[in-house]
Symmetry: C2
Subunit: 208 residues, 2 copies
DNA sequence: AATTAAATCAAACGACCGTTTAAATTTCAC
DNA sequence: GTGAAATTTAAACGGTCGTTTGATTTAATT
């Protein structure tokens, strides 16, 4: 799908505003104003407000299955190193795209939205790559056996999403008000990754 | 704050609909219809739709600090047992009130809502009780020292919220479609609690 | 029983909404 | 340069929204 400059501007503006205010509290007039276009352009280019949000999801749900597969198949690294890479890449990907991921969180809370099936399939693919990797590690004796991988992935996603969506609360709780937005983001990426790596290693590895 | 039967009916209906559809996609006509009252009653009893949602938060944010304090101060139990009780009570509390907690999640995503300060204070209080407990356990040698308690609490909250908000996706991923809603809820409470207990024990305890 | 206060109602208000319309303008292809 | 196609525009449409209004009904008080 090729978009022209106007369409891209609309998509970006919509993504930002939907993330901030949600779908229903964002009007096409808001989006058009932010994008510098006339309001009829939304319908002209995308057909409807509903199809606009679907287009954002379609554009953004770049399946990250390929990245995952590559990361977890890198035999130059140990199983632990690959697990650590998985966590780092995941956390950085979420934290570096706050708008889209806030939209994802809203979509997941909202039971009646058209992209739910797309999201489900996307998550299922990712999960199956991770599960295959953990299983392989278990069979080869690198990881412990009694670990619920789906719960583990839920903790990865849930923790990261929660930090991202409540980062200003977190900032206040940690007395980090002096940090700029990009400093805070980098701090959160590192600390969240480290925390999650510690958690997963603690349950997957045999104590050294 | 004492509410009459009509007001309670409005509060319940509003909570359910705000949880399902969000504040902006729920109209006062929807709420009035669900509650069996005339739409003017919303403004009459609560002043506005905005004040209605605030009233729900005020009513529901029963500070759980007292429950926490009691659970974590129960000296008839070991430190580990108290940690386990904390997890179980937290998870059950969230999972048993899906409507209110979906509203909480939405409120947290939404940066510009009047109750954010209330939520922040509420979370801060709870966090400080937990941190005091973990610190005490560390000082007495029951828990390991290098654990980020705020991150731990974030994992507790993030994981539980994520399961709750994506429970139908989770149900499908786990091939549990045959379960009724209440069976699924109970399954999730138990499995989430066990998973989180395993995680926290793995990072807090010295390997036996 | 009469009066006052509270609750309820249907209708209305002014605002906002997403989408459409028809005309105007711009761009493209020949 | 011309005509067709695409894009853009301002206005309009029909609908929904939260809140208010004033009349009516019900409940409480004297």
């Amino acid at each position: 799908m090729e978009y022209n400059q106007k369409q891209l501007s609309i998509l970006e503006s919509a993504e930002k505003l939907f993330a901030l205010h949600g779908f229903h509290a964002t009007s096409v007039r808001d989006i058009a104003h932010e994008a510098g276009v006339n309001i009829a352009m939304i319908s002209y280019y995308f057909g409807s407000k509903e199809k606009l949000i679907e287009s954002i999801f379609l554009k953004r749900i770049i399946t990250w299955k390929a990245t995952l597969t590559e990361t977890l198949a890198d035999t130059s690294k140990s199983y632990v190193e690959r697990l650590e890479s998985l966590v780092e890449r995941f956390v950085r990907r979420i934290m570096s795209n706050p708008c889209f991921n806030l939209m994802m969180m809203r979509a997941q809370i909202q039971a009646d939205i058209a992209v739910n099936e797309l999201i489900h399939e996307n998550k299922k693919e990712a999960y199956e790559v991770i599960r295959a990797f953990i299983s392989e590690g278990q069979e080869k004796g690198h990881f412990k056996k009694n670990v619920d991988v789906l719960m583990m992935v839920t903790t990865l996603t849930g923790t990261t999403n929660h930090i991202m969506s409540t980062r200003h609360h977190f900032q206040r709780m940690s007395n980090l008000e002096h940090l700029t937005d990009s400093e805070l983001q980098e701090y959160l990426i590192i600390h969240t990754s480290n925390h999650l790596k510690n958690l997963f290693k603690a349950i997957l590895l045999h104590e050294a």
